[in-house]
Amino acid sequence: MSVEKINWISVIERVLRNERPAVTELIQAAQTPLFTFCFHLCKNKQLAEDLTHDALLKSLSSLSQLQNQESYLPWAKKIARHLFLDYLKASENSKVHLQFDELPESADFTQDPISVEQIHASRTLQLLDEEDRTLLILIDIQEMSYEDAAVTLDHPIGTIKSKLSRARDKFSVLYNDNGTKSLADSSIRQELELKKKISN
């Protein structure tokens, strides 16, 4: 189901009237953008699924508190982000650390092959701090508007713009760092070639 085509206000009103098909419709429409957001945030498929699940459940349970129903998706992403921050905090407290630098397996994305550029970009994204990463995911990858990003991040639009500019600069420096990039690319290429050989 296309996210653009869905009428969030109508669906949410029907969910609030306890119409079961509307719940299905909402979940179907929201799960992919939410999962994509969560996956880029944590780069771990299982964790991304759990975050998406919890964010959807939490948003459905507190749907009546949502003031602007058109902002459902940015609001649900805000919930997912807070769940991720809680998870990070809990992991830190228990000395369990996430492994961000694992190579994204093709199974983690789709069956389609992924390019060296995509892997390198994905790795670079993980080098940024959480807020910069979230901004770039929302605006540059998911093409969210500044207004919606402001809802997710709970910042004024002006702040979003200035933080975005700085986050892009940081990303570009890391991404275009020739030495690192060529090193990273060569190691990624080697790994991709190895995988190709194994699958053949």
């Binding site: 079961r20 719940v23 299905t24 979940i27 179907q28 799960q31 992919t32 999962f35 994509t36 996956f39 880029h40 991304a48 699924e49 998406t52 699940h53 959807l56 459940l57 459905l60 349970s61 809990a90 407290n93 228990s94 369990v96 994305f109 789709t110 389609d112 992924i114 390019s115 550029e117 995509q118 390198h120 970009a121 994905s122 670079t124 994204l125 770039l136 605006i139 540059d140 990858i141 998911q142 093409e143 508007s145 500044y146 713009k161 975005l164 500019s165 892009r168 600069d169 990303f171 570009s172 991404y175």
Partner: protein, 188 residues
Amino acid sequence: MHDDQNQNETPSGLKALRSVPLQPSAFLATRVQRNFESSATRPKLDQKKNKASFLVGTGLMALALVVVGFWQLNAFIPPTKSNEPVFALGKPYLIRMDIREISHAEIAYAEISLGGDNIQFSSEKFKHIQRDKTIRIAAKSFSQKQYLPVVVEGVENGKAQVTVRFYNDRHELVTTRQMDLNFMGPKT
């Protein structure tokens, strides 16, 4: 999409990530819907937050309590003929359920039940919990812990049980921990 003159452009690497088609598993939607519907028909875990806080926050009470553990009960408490530990009446006991061998990834929530009319949950802060015989707590309250703390108190002489059942998100029983207690002595 963003037409600000002063805004730097989207880096090319990030544009490349737009075309990575990510999809959650086919079961996610069903899982969410099922859990949403079941949460609408049973008491919500969130509503039990105060109870969970009571269980998790028992550290403050710990000084005033006798601490016992499943794995060393006999070392602390004189056994009866049947080897059940004996507890005094009217005194809160902190029982630490050993959950180190439980796979936390599987567990969605735990249900703590008290067997016997002579035992009750104990909390200074949440007096109402004494009326409950069963409480349910979300896994996130104890997922990072090695022990699940339960505070109980005996009100009459006799045997009682504390049972903790761990369930997955399909409400299927994963594992159970049970402890038999024997309350004996005058009321304090």
